[in-house]
Every structure is written in structure tokens, then in C-alpha cells.
């Protein structure tokens, strides 16, 4: 099945800093999503982005499907951005999670 790799595994930032999270996938995908898992454990859907670029406030994402990677950008980070960010790739038949990036934003 498809492999999904995320980097970095851990990231510590000072509030206000910018960051880039990366997701590499081993094969072409019909689904590529970014989730934020909040402190209560809920998976919050950030972007559905099998290709192209999307922006939502301070967050944006870009997927280059031909090169099999996706990037999540967080600008002007806030302490509430802390948590685990997951990339999920695959198709309707198979959704594979990356191992996640643990983001800690310090005040």
C-alpha cells in the first residue's frame, strides 16, 4: 500500500514564528488531507488538497502531486496551534496516515 512520511517528527517554535511541515507519499493519491489533532484528541480537518494550493487564514497548503509531496505552512504561529499534525493520503479504498508532526508553540 501507499506509504506516507512526515517531517519533521517534532517542532518547537516561539510564538509568532513561521513553520513548514512536509508530507511525502510513495504513489499517486486521490486523497491528500491535513489534520490537526487538538488536545482533546479530535481530528480537525485543515485541508483537503490532492493538488494545488489552498489558504485558510494563517494556514496554507500546497500539494505537488507529480512529485508526490505536500507542504503545510503555518505563519505567525500561536500557542493554540500546538498539537499533532497528520497528513493522510490514499484513495477511497485506502487511507494511510503519516506518523505526524508534534508541534509545540511556546509563548
Amino acid at each position: 500500500g501507499i506509504q506516507v512520511e512526515q517531517s519533521p517528527p517534532d517542532l518547537i517554535l516561539q510564538e509568532g514564528a513561521n513553520s513548514t511541515l512536509r508530507c511525502n507519499f510513495s504513489d499517486s493519491v486521490n486523497n491528500l488531507q491535513w489534520f490537526h489533532q487538538n488536545p482533546w484528541g479530535q481530528l480537525i480537518n485543515l485541508f483537503y488538497i490532492p493538488s494545488g494550493t489552498k489558504q485558510n487564514g494563517r494556514l496554507s497548503a500546497t500539494t505537488v502531486a507529480t512529485e508526490r509531496y505536500s507542504l503545510l505552512y503555518i505563519s505567525s504561529s500561536q500557542t493554540t496551534d500546538s498539537g499533532v499534525y497528520f497528513c493522510v493520503g490514499g484513495s477511497a479504498r485506502q487511507l494511510t496516515f503519516g506518523s505526524g508532526t508534534q508541534l509545540t508553540v511556546l509563548p
Binding site: N31, Y48, A92, L95, G100
Partner: protein, 115 residues
Amino acid sequence: DAGITQSPRYKITETGRQVTLMCHQTWSHSYMFWYRQDLGHGLRLIYYSAAADITDKGEVPDGYVVSRSKTENFPLTLESATRSQTSVYFCASPTTTPGLNTEAFFGQGTRLTVV
């Protein structure tokens, strides 16, 4: 309300007991998935279903049983719970428009503790 819901949200059970986690979706999507999330392992696929009465094993199926008699429901049963099955369980269902991209929707999770 439209969406995907899991129940219960929290469950404590004893070793050896049978417990069933419920997942319900309102869209009539074909595919449904069950994942478990453990520290150090991320989310791993337990079982999935392509349609009513069609199920298949994922990465970590041992100790679990699923059924799908109706498209909207996908219960996950632990026939004899063990402490190693203490975890957070997520149900998911992607849209499935043939030939087009899909988007997955996740339930809120069920936190199961086996004592």
C-alpha cells in the same frame, strides 16, 4: 445532523468482556474504516468496508470483529477485550465519486480503557 458519529465517546471495560463500538454515517458513503491510535504508533487501520456485507482486514485486525449489515453503520466489536486494546478508536468514511478525488471524514473518536 449530517456527518459521522461514534458512540460511546468513552468506555471502560474489564478484561475478557465483549464491547462494541458504533460508527454511523449519514451520507451513504460506500467505504468506512476503523483505526486505532496509540502513543508511538500513530493511527493504524484495523478493518475497512467497501460496502454493506463487504469487509476486509487492515494492518492490525487481531482481536476485532466487524460487520456491516447496513451501509450507514459499521460496528467494531472486541470479542474478549485485552489491556493491549486500550486505545483511542476512530471511524472514517471518504466520499467515493468514481474517477474523482475523495475526501475523508472522521468521527470524534472513542476512548476505550480495558482494565
